[in-house]
Amino acid sequence: MSPTGPNPNWFERWVLDFIPSTANALKDLLGHGPDWLAYILFALIGGFIVVNLPALLTPLFIWIERKVLARVQHRVGPNRVGPFGLLQGVADAVKLMTKEDLVPDSADKLVFNLAPLMAAIPVFLVFPVIPYSARATLADLNLGLLYIISITSVTEVAIFAAGWSSNNKYALFGAMRAVAMLISYEIPLALSLMGVVLIAGTMQLSVIVDTQRYMPMILLQPIGFIVFVTAVSAELNRTPFDLLEAESELTTGYHVEYSGMKWGVFMLAEYAAAFAYSLLIATLFFSGWKGPLLPGFVWLAIKVFFIWCVFIWIRGTFPRLRVDQVMAFSWKFLVPLSLMNVLVTAVEVNIQANQGWEFFPMWFAPINLVIAVVLIVIMSKLFKFEGQTRQVLPSRMGTIIPVTQAAERAASKAK
C-alpha cells in the first residue's frame, strides 16, 4: 500500500491517492486497533464517497447535456437557476420531490414501486470498480469487466417491470421493445470487449489501463470501439436507438405512468448509467486516468466530458431507427463484426505470444485500422439497409380488411 513517492507531500497523499491514504490514516488513528474495524470504516467512507460521486455529478451531467444540446440547436439552454443554470439539476430534483407521486390504481403496486429501485441500484454498483486515479479504486476486482457487464444487465428487468406494471398500453409497447432491444445489444457489448480483454490479458480494469501505457486501446481496437459505442448508445436508450422512450411514438415509453421522484429516480438512473458508461469508455479505450502533467482523475474528467459531448452531438442530429431495423442491425451487423474482431485480435495476440514481445507492438494499429475499414465496407454492402417494403400480414390475421367489410362487421355488431 505504498503511496506514490517515498515521502509524499500532502497533495499527493490526499488528492492523488485518497483511498489508500484514508485507509492508513484510519489505522494510525485507531492505534493499530483490530484490522477488521479499520476495514469496515474504510469501506464505509470509501462507499460513501463513491456512491455520492454519481449522485452529485449526475445533475452536472444533465446540465451539460441540456446546455450542449441547446448550443447544437442554436439556442441558449437553461440559464435561469443559479449561475449559467448550473443548479438546474438540483432545481429539477427539488421540484420532482414536491410533485405528487401518482400510482395508477390498476397498476401492480409492488412491482410498480420496485421498478425505479431496480433501475437505479445496479448503476451505482458500477462506480466502485472504475479506477479514478493511480491507485484510487474502491474495489479493484480482477473480474472487473465481467462484473460491470453482468450488473448493468439488471436494468433491463427493471425497465420491463416498470413498463408491464403500469398497465398502460404505451408502457407495454415500451416494455416489449425494451426486452427485445436491450438483450439483443448485450451480445455485441460483451463481444466487443473481448478484443480489449485479449490484448490486456486480464479483466482487471486497473491493469487494462496499465497496458495502455504507450497507446490508447482505441488505436489497437477500432472495430471494438465502434461496436462498443453503438451498443452502449443502445443500452442507454439514446438516439438513434431511443425506442424505449420514443417521445413521438410512445410518449416516453415505459416511465409514462411515473411521476414525482419515482420518475426522478428513473432519470437519475438513466443519466448515472450514461456517466458510468462514459467512464467505462474512457478507461477501456482512452487509457483511463493516464495523461501527462495533470493528476489522474482530472484527465479522466476531461475524457468523460468529451465522450459525453459526442453522445449529445449524436443525439441532436440523428433520427430514430424502427424496432425491427434496430434488431436487424444488432444481429446481422454488430454481432458478426465483433466476432470477426475477436478473430483478428486473437491472431495478433497469438503472434505476440510466439514472438515473445512483452508489449503489444505498435505497428499493429494501422493494420487494425485497415482491417476495420475493409470489414465495415464489405459488411455494409452485404447487409442492404433498405426501407421495409409493404409487409403483408401472416395469413392468421387475414388479409387487410377492405372498408366495406369492416363496415358490415361494425353494422352487424351494432344490430
Binding site: V403, T404, A406, A407, E408, A410
Partner: protein, 151 residues
C-alpha cells in the same frame, strides 16, 4: 387554364347515354335525377369524352324546400372541370346515392354532409357522424337548426 366544360353539352352527353337522367339543365346548371346519380357518376368517370377522374368536392346546400348536393368534378387528364347537382326533396329522410364506389375521395365528405346537414347517402359503407359525437341530435348546418347563442 382549367376549361369549364359547357353545361349544355355535359347535360346532352349524359342525356344521350342515360335517357331521363338530366331533370333540368340551363346555362349554368346540370340537375341530375337523384336516384340515377350513381349511374351518372360512373358514366362521367369512364365515358371517353369526360374522364372526370378527380372529385374536387361534394357540398350540400339547404334550400329549405329541398337539399341540393353539388359535385365539383375535375378531369386531370384533359384539364376540364364541371359541376353536377342533384336534389333531395323530402325533409326528414333526404336520400342521395353515394358515389364512394366511383370516387373513394367522397367517403369523408359524404359522412360530413350526413353529420352536419342530415342528407343520407345510400350505399355509403361507413355512414356515421364524423365531426360531432354520436349522441348529438339534429344537424346543425340546416337552416331550421335553432342555435341558442349564450347571452
Amino acid at each position: 387554364m382549367t376549361r369549364e366544360l359547357g353545361f349544355q353539352d355535359v347535360a346532352a352527353a349524359i342525356e344521350r347515354a342515360l335517357p331521363g337522367a338530366v331533370v333540368q339543365s340551363s346555362a349554368n346548371l346540370v340537375l341530375v335525377d337523384s336516384d340515377k346519380m350513381a349511374a351518372v357518376a360512373k358514366f362521367l368517370r369512364e365515358a371517353p369524352g369526360m374522364e372526370f377522374d378527380f372529385l374536387t368536392s361534394v357540398s350540400a346546400v339547404d334550400y329549405l324546400d329541398y337539399f341540393e348536393v353539388v359535385y365539383h368534378l375535375l378531369s386531370i387528364k384533359n384539364n376540364e372541370s364541371t359541376v353536377i347537382k342533384t336534389r333531395a326533396y323530402s325533409r326528414d329522410y333526404p336520400a342521395v346515392p353515394s358515389v364512394v364506389n366511383v370516387w373513394q375521395g367522397a367517403d369523408f365528405q359524404e359522412r360530413e354532409i350526413f353529420d352536419l346537414m342530415g342528407v343520407i347517402f345510400t350505399g355509403h359503407p361507413n355512414l356515421k357522424r364524423i365531426m360531432l359525437w354520436e349522441g348529438f341530435e339534429g344537424h346543425p348546418l340546416r337552416k331550421d337548426y335553432i342555435v341558442v347563442t349564450p347571452s
